[in-house]
Symmetry: C2
Subunit: 294 residues, 2 copies
C-alpha cells in the first residue's frame, strides 16, 4: 500500500463528495457560498477525512460508506480554521499558502462562512445510513461532543487565554492539544468505524489510535512551525513563538519533542493490533504524519 | 388560557432545562461557559421555544416532549444574536438591556461562545426520543436546513450586504426577513410538532403558521425599532435607520407596515384551523406577538 497514493485518491474522492454536497458558488448568497468553498478547496492535506475512510476499511467496511463522515469532519475542521484565523483570534494572514478567508471576503463573511460550515458538517452526517449498532443520534453526538465547548472549542479558548501567560506547563499544553487536535482526529476515526458498524472493541481501539495520532500530529506541527519556512508550510512560520504561545519545542526542546512524537506514534501503531492486516492504511497514515515536513 | 401566563411558565421550564443541559459556568473553560450562559440567560422573551412547546400541544403532545426542541432553537437563536452583534457585523453594544457578549467577554470569546451554542443546539435534539414518524435524522435535518447557508445565515449575509445599498425593494427585504426570522420560527413549530409525532397535514399547517408568524414578528420588530425607546426595547432603538438598513416602515411607511403585520397574523390564525381547540395556545401566541410593544 503506497500511502501517498491512498492520500491522493482519498483527497480526490472527498473533494468530489464535498463538491456535490456543499452548495455551488453560484447559489444565493453567492459571496457566502464562494467564501465557504474558498477555504474548503484551498488544498488542505485532508488528513482527517483520510483517517475516517481508513478506519472504515480497518473495520471491514469501504471508503464509500464513510464518505459522509469524512466530509463532516473536513467541514468542521475548515470552519475551525476560518474562525481561528480571525483578527480577534490568532490573526493570521495566510493559510495553506493563500490569504485567509477574512483577508479575501472580510471579517463578517468569514464569521458567517465558518458558521455555515459548522452547520453543514452536521448535515453531512445525514447522508450516511444507520447501521445495526449505530444511528444518526450516535453520529451527531460523536461530532457535537468532539467539536463542542469541552473539546475543540475548549482548546481554542485555552490557546487564546494562554498567549503570553507565565508559568506554562506541559500539562497545560497537553490540555490544549488534546482538545484542539486530538478530539477531532479521534472523532474522525470513530465516525469512520461507526459507518462500518464497528464492534465496541474496534471502536475503542480507534479511539485510542485517533487520540495518539492527534497528539503526535500537533507536536509535529509545533516542531514544523519552528523548523520550516513560511513558504513550505503555506502559513506564517514562527508565528507561535512570536505570539508568545506555548509549544512543545519551547517547553521541552526540539529533540525531546521529536522523541515524544515518535513515542505517541508507536503507541498509535500498537492500538491497531486487533485489526490485523486491515489496519495497513491506518498504520501507513500514522507513519506518514510522523515523517511529514509540512 | 392566559397567554402571558403560558409564556411565563414555558420560559421558566425552558430555562430550567437549559440550565440542566448547558455546562455550568464553573466547568472548564470557565470563561467560555460563563459567556454562553451570559447570553443564554439574559432574559429573552423565549418566543421560539414557546412556539415549539405550543406546537407539540396542538398536535396532541405535551410541553415536556418538545423540551429538547425548545432548548435547541433557543441555543440556536442566541448564537445568531451573539454573532450578529459583533463589530464586524451589526456592531451592537446592547442587547436585552445588557452589554452585548463581546462587550463583556471580548470578541474572541464571543465568537467561540456563539460557535459552542450552535454546536450544542444539535446536541439538544439528542435529548428527544424518536417517534413513529420521525427520527433524529429528521430532527437534525430540520434544524440544519433552517439555520444553514440558504436560510438563517443567508438572511444575515443579505442584511450585511444590503446596508446602505441603493435601489431597495420590498422583495429584497422579504428575502431577508424570511431567512433571518421566519426560517427559525417555522423550524420551531415543525420540531415541536415532530416531537408529538405530527401527521403530515399537521406538520404542513405548522410550517405555514411558523412562516407567517415569523414574517409578522419581523415586520413588528421593524416598527418597534422606529417607534419605541432604547430603554423599552433593551437594545439600541433607531439603529436600523441609522445604519441605512432596509425596514418595512422605511419602504412602505408605518401604517402600511402595521396593516401587513395584521394580515400575516390573520393568515397565521387561518392556518391553525385543522387543530381546532388544541391550537388555542398557538393562537394566543400569534396574537401576543402582534400586540407586543418590545
Amino acid at each position: 500500500m503506497d500511502i501517498n497514493k491512498f492520500l491522493e485518491q482519498s483527497a480526490k474522492s472527498v473533494e468530489k463528495a464535498l463538491d456535490r454536497w456543499v452548495p455551488k458558488g453560484r447559489i444565493k448568497p453567492q459571496t457566502l457560498h464562494e467564501s465557504m468553498r474558498y477555504s474548503l478547496f484551498a488544498g488542505g492535506k485532508r488528513v482527517r477525512p483520510a483517517v475516517s475512510l481508513a478506519s472504515s476499511i480497518a473495520c471491514g467496511g469501504t471508503s464509500e460508506l464513510a464518505m459522509p463522515m469524512a466530509c463532516a469532519v473536513e467541514c468542521l475542521h475548515t470552519y475551525s480554521l476560518i474562525h481561528d484565523d480571525l483578527p480577534c483570534m490568532d490573526d493570521d494572514d495566510f493559510r495553506r499558502g493563500k490569504p485567509t478567508n477574512h483577508k479575501v471576503y472580510g471579517e463578517g463573511i468569514a464569521v458567517l462562512a465558518g458558521d455555515a460550515l459548522l452547520t453543514i458538517s452536521f448535515e453531512m452526517l445525514l447522508h450516511a445510513e444507520a447501521t445495526t449498532r449505530y444511528t444518526h443520534r450516535d453520529f451527531v453526538r460523536e461530532l457535537a461532543e468532539a467539536s463542542g465547548s469541552r473539546q475543540l472549542i475548549a482548546g481554542q479558548v485555552a490557546d487564546l487565554e494562554g498567549e503570553n501567560a507565565t508559568d506554562r506547563k506541559v500539562a497545560d499544553l497537553k490540555f490544549i492539544h488534546e482538545r484542539k487536535t486530538s478530539a477531532l482526529l479521534r472523532c474522525s476515526a470513530r465516525l469512520g468505524g461507526m459507518a462500518a458498524d464497528a464492534t465496541p472493541e474496534q471502536l475503542s481501539a480507534l479511539s485510542e489510535f485517533g487520540y495518539k495520532v492527534g497528539l503526535a500530529f500537533q507536536v509535529i506541527d509545533d516542531i514544523l512551525d519552528e523548523t520550516q519556512s513560511t513558504e513550505n508550510l503555506g502559513k506564517t512560520a514562527g508565528k507561535d513563538k512570536e505570539a508568545g504561545k506555548m509549544t512543545y519545542p519551547s517547553l521541552i526542546g526540539l529533540d525531546k519533542s521529536r522523541k515524544y512524537a515518535e513515542k505517541l506514534t508507536r503507541e498509535a501503531f500498537a492500538s491497531l493490533e486487533i485489526f490485523g492486516d486491515q489496519a495497513m492504511i491506518l498504520n501507513g497514515l500514522a507513519g506518514y504524519l510522523l515523517g511529514r515536513d509540512r
